[in-house]
Symmetry: C2
Subunit: 163 residues, 2 copies
């Protein structure tokens, strides 16, 4: 099962574990069950499986599932660890695609999940943890700020479809 | 020399090439010659050399120098290519630590340099190019927006010094 961490909220236990190929359909369902994800997670499952294989093979990435005690997947997050030359040659952790299933929100689970991610980044030597969040996700910004994130940067994106 | 691209502005030619270990002191000087970099680029050179070795060994990273025709280093940029599960298993390119020497600004060189980076990301199959920029860099935001970047996200950061 390769459990990385157990998170306890109320009287329920949840686990953070490395994602497996068999989780991919569940992870895609979580990504799609979202106001922004709904419109963009429409690819064939094979595209996600190919992406999973690449992520899983990378030392610089960690894709995790948040699961119930019966191993139901109720959350996900992708962590990327990037060495930079700036900041004294520092390592930075980046969080992407953070999701907790709507039935499992409002009980402090998301907070524990992100706090785990911060600790994981620290444990790997990151000096900075960063993420970008769409301006429309106002609740998410408050959530991250309560966890200590500082809204110091603009996140600029350019859609670059292949020629 | 492994020149990746030649950029011409006015009657001068510049090259984009992969960074080498011998470039590290020049790259650090560029990173430090900056209102924000001044306070944080104070590590020993050995820390930067170790970081360089790690970046250079990674298939997911490309650290480049922008050089004059006599191979003087006048700019730098770090590109990171990250496969994600979201966006249909898409690849995204991230730009970090973009710098052009103050003596070589205001001649359109930065614009050509970032346009090269966008093309490089596209060529590697990225569907999205992203970066974060400190809120204080107002000129930089205008510069990136003119290149097609959209200021759609908040960039949240958390300093996470080791326990």
């Amino acid at each position: 099962m390769t459990v990385i961490c157990v998170l306890t909220t109320g009287d329920q236990e949840f686990s953070v574990r490395r994602a497996r190929r068999a989780d991919v359909p569940h992870l895609v369902a979580l990504l799609a069950d979202d106001p922004l994800g709904r419109g963009r997670e429409t690819a064939e499952l094979s595209a996600y499986e190919a992406a999973f294989a690449e992520i899983d093979a990378s030392d610089e990435q960690l894709l995790v599932c948040l699961t119930t005690s019966s191993d139901e997947v109720v959350g996900t997050m992708q962590l990327t660890f990037t060495r930079g030359l700036s900041h004294g040659g520092g390592l930075r952790g980046q969080l992407e695609a953070v999701r907790v299933h709507s039935s499992y929100r409002d009980r402090g689970l998301g907070r524990l999940f992100v706090q785990w991610a911060i600790d994981e980044c620290r444990g790997r030597g990151c000096e900075l943890v960063q993420l970008t969040s769409d301006r429309s996700r106002v609740d998410a910004h408050r959530f991250y700020e309560r966890l200590g994130f500082v809204d110091s940067h603009r996140g600029l994106k350019l859609a670059a479809p292949a020629h």
